[in-house]
Amino acid sequence: MSERSERAIQRCALSECEAERSVGAPPVEDWGSVGMSRAALLVLADGRFPAGGHAHSGGAEPAVAAGHIKDAATLETFCRGRLHTAGLVAAGLAAAAAAGLDPLLLDDAADARTPVPALRQVARRLGRQMMRAARATWPSAALDALAAARPRGAHQPVVLGLAARSAGLTPLDAAYAVAYENISGPATAVVRLLSLDPFDATAVLARLTDDLEQVAEQATEAAHRAVTEGLGALPAASAPLLDIAAEAHAAWPVRLFAS
């Protein structure tokens, strides 16, 4: 028997085997959007995506200084709180931008949901950096138009949502990327700030995946409603302590992170 036909038989046997196994598998309703580039989500959500996030702690630095974060358990509490407030708001804005809602109106909506100047400034600075990276990775007319309208930067979740749209991703994908970044940033920062065991920090993220899914879906559902009901349907949860701490942190003379 030729080597080639031998391999063909092996392949056959293998696919039979797989077929048998799949009979018992539970039915799946949504296999993911066909034609969409899901793999682009891995690129966009990668912590090494060069859009400036590494210099920010997402409020973890002042929380460590205040004694609110001191170990893995308190990091988890902090991340859960941030995810369901600031994370939900950001994910909603990103999902709406990815759904094709007007990014300039979303930028105003982001301002309205960001009461303190320090965080508005951070969001715009990171938005500008995200814009640079997005125009290099998934160039599009929509990104060019937003960059021209907001040369000093639009709010980062709005830019990220538009980047996701340019990459062929769905609103849900954009919500996932923003929600994940919302907690992975502080977790990475706390590894540096407290010399926390990096395995413990990553385990915290793994324990929060159910919350991540919930927030991403809630944000996407709100963005869906915003299409007909207006931007008032987008989440507007707030975390006053994060806001106050961010404003104070911006005035520290010595700090490791920009925010």
Binding site: R48, P50, H54, A55, Q129, R132, A133, P139, R192, R255
Partner: protein, 231 residues
């Protein structure tokens, strides 16, 4: 001494600010990065370069501090340039990330300087003190200087690493301290030559009058090369 990398300044095609010409077709400022271990004299070199070159060229500085804005404040206090020409980038405790892996904040600082005080001839981008592997991205700078010193030990050139072996100029500072720390300058020069081939090495003692001259001369040569290169 003025030998350069063979390819000079290769053309770049990215969405970053790396394009060598401005929107109006003129050549943008030359960007030179300064890196090296902590305490070797990077900020002192930047300050000395500004003092020597500021009458000839329009200069601005971007600093990348590790956890303070100290380097930028030192340069402002020393009044080496008007304060609006010095900008600090915060690096989240990782200068090598900000100068190599994620250069977005630095590119924006350079662009903002061009916009607010430009047109500029030269932008010096200083890294916070880092390790021997910290080098600048080619998307951020056109040429880079790696600063080491005699007090760090004469085995640094022999150890090599990307900073020592690939920088466009290697500066060995504090040569005036060599006799006091038992360092053999000829040996350092031999080791550097072995690691770097024809790439130049400058020995400096910044505390001495005009101590920065070898570096300033190299920068002038880079600027001549940059402005005469066809866009």
């Amino acid at each position: 001494m003025h030998l350069d990398h063979q390819d000079g300044f290769p053309e770049r095609h990215t969405y970053s600010a790396a394009a060598p010409v401005r929107g109006d077709g003129t050549r943008r400022a030359l960007r030179i990065g300064l890196g090296g271990p902590v305490g070797t004299g990077k900020t002192a070199t930047v300050a000395a370069l500004c003092r020597v070159l500021r009458e000839e060229f329009s200069i601005a500085v971007v600093t990348n501090d590790i956890y303070t804005r100290e380097d930028a404040e030192f340069l402002r206090r020393e009044a080496v340039l008007p304060t609006e020409r010095i900008v600090a980038v915060e690096t989240g405790a990782c200068p090598h990330t900000a100068i190599r892996d994620d250069i977005s904040a630095n590119l924006e600082a350079v662009e903002d300087l061009e916009e607010s005080v430009g047109p500029l001839d030269l932008v010096l981008v200083e890294s916070g003190g880092d390790n021997l592997t910290a080098t600048f991205s080619k998307g951020l700078v056109d040429a880079q200087i790696f600063v080491i010193d005699t007090a760090g030990g004469d085995d640094i050139p022999r150890k090599g690493g990307p900073g020592v072996t690939t920088a466009d100029l290697l500066v060995v500072n504090k040569t005036d301290l060599a006799p006091y720390v038992g360092v053999d300058l000829d040996g350092m020069a031999r080791d550097a030559k072995a690691q770097r081939g024809e790439l130049p090495v400058a020995f400096t003692a910044l505390k001495q009058p005009d101590g920065v001259k070898p570096v300033a001369d190299w920068v002038r040569a880079q600027l001549t090369h940059w402005t005469t290169a066809t866009a």
